[in-house]
């Protein structure tokens, strides 16, 4: 699907600083020279078509609760089954297969360290494979925005 110029601007320009004004879509509309209605319906369509996940905050890791990246090494025939077990935990947000001996990678967010370790123990028991806990020690990157290349 071809994105319109308006859609591209909405996707690119409001990742960092979505307006904190009473009518943020109107603020955007004024910047782009369109109506508030147009902006709201364009965002609704982008969301409906899954081009955007949401308009919201990215929280600095470990400010609220604790989180960790976790890796597992699982033989291919059991991989999908184990991924499904892991996905059942509401504390798991990302869960990806990656091309490596450690082939399953997920992120856990829990209330505290005990809660997090308890979930890992449960996952190890239910999948019968070990987990490798890789929590964040230091963040060298502040900006999580994702700039689209608008020229291609």
């Amino acid at each position: 699907m071809e994105l319109s110029l308006l859609q591209r601007k909405l996707l690119n320009n409001y990742q960092q600083d979505f307006p904190l004004s009473p009518q943020p879509f109107l603020s955007i509309a004024k910047e782009l020279g369109v109506s508030e209605e147009t902006v709201i319906s364009a965002f609704s369509l982008l969301k409906q078509q899954s081009f955007i996940n949401r308009i919201g905050p990215i929280i600095q890791p470990n400010y609220i609760g604790v989180s960790s990246l976790v890796a597992m090494s699982i033989p291919e025939p059991q991989l999908l089954h184990c991924a499904e077990i892991i996905n059942r935990f509401s504390e798991v947000n990302h869960n990806y297969e990656r091309s490596h001996h450690f082939n399953l990678w997920f992120v856990l967010v829990a209330n505290d360290q005990n809660h997090l370790d308890g979930i890992l123990t449960q996952i190890e028991q239910e999948t019968e494979f070990k987990t490798l806990k890789l929590p964040l020690l230091k963040d060298y990157f502040i900006n999580l925005g994702f700039q689209l290349n608008l020229d291609d």
Partner: protein, 162 residues
């Protein structure tokens, strides 16, 4: 640590602002705050760095950025801070974190994420990164994402009441 009002606010906005004319007023109603209090508090939490950014969260896979590589390096501890900051400045790097090594199992301590439209582009960018930061002597590995089993924003939950 975060206070109860701010936590309620985060819990209310984390799934996304409603796509209505006055989204902060809608959030305020659900929290028994007023619209201006919600706006001021979000502004404050951004300034404090608890909110890293507030805005549109795109689905990069859907937008054609389907090659996603986690690149991991084993960098000597005394250099990791400097090299981490260098890597974090590249446009095509989306994340750059230090994580622990695990003896005999996992030798890498620096993780970064590169998203691109093809694996070829990503590998080219990685070559550029390695040359520019002079990382040729340090072991590294590239883990491209394959199947996505789950992808959503972190959902924070209230502590269970005791």
């Amino acid at each position: 640590m975060i206070n109860a009002t701010d936590l309620d606010l985060i819990l209310a906005v984390q799934k996304g602002l409603p796509l209505v004319s006055r989204p902060y007023a809608t959030i305020a109603d659900s929290l028994q705050l007023n619209e201006q209090q919600v706006i001021d508090r979000l502004q404050f939490l951004k300034q404090e760095g608890l909110i890293k950014r507030l805005g549109v969260i795109v689905n990069h896979r859907k937008l054609g950025y389907s090659a996603n590589a986690m690149v991991v390096f084993n960098i000597p501890d005394e250099l990791i801070h400097e090299i981490g900051q260098q890597i974090g400045q590249f446009d095509f790097v989306n994340l750059c974190y230090q994580r622990p090594r695990h003896q005999g199992v996992w030798p890498y301590n620096l993780f970064c994420m590169i998203h691109g439209k093809s694996q070829g582009t990503v590998l080219q960018q990685l070559t550029e990164l390695i040359q520019h930061c002079q990382l040729e002597d340090y072991p590294h590995d590239v883990l491209f994402s394959q199947r996505c089993f789950k992808q959503r924003g972190a959902i924070y939950q209230r502590e269970p009441k005791l």
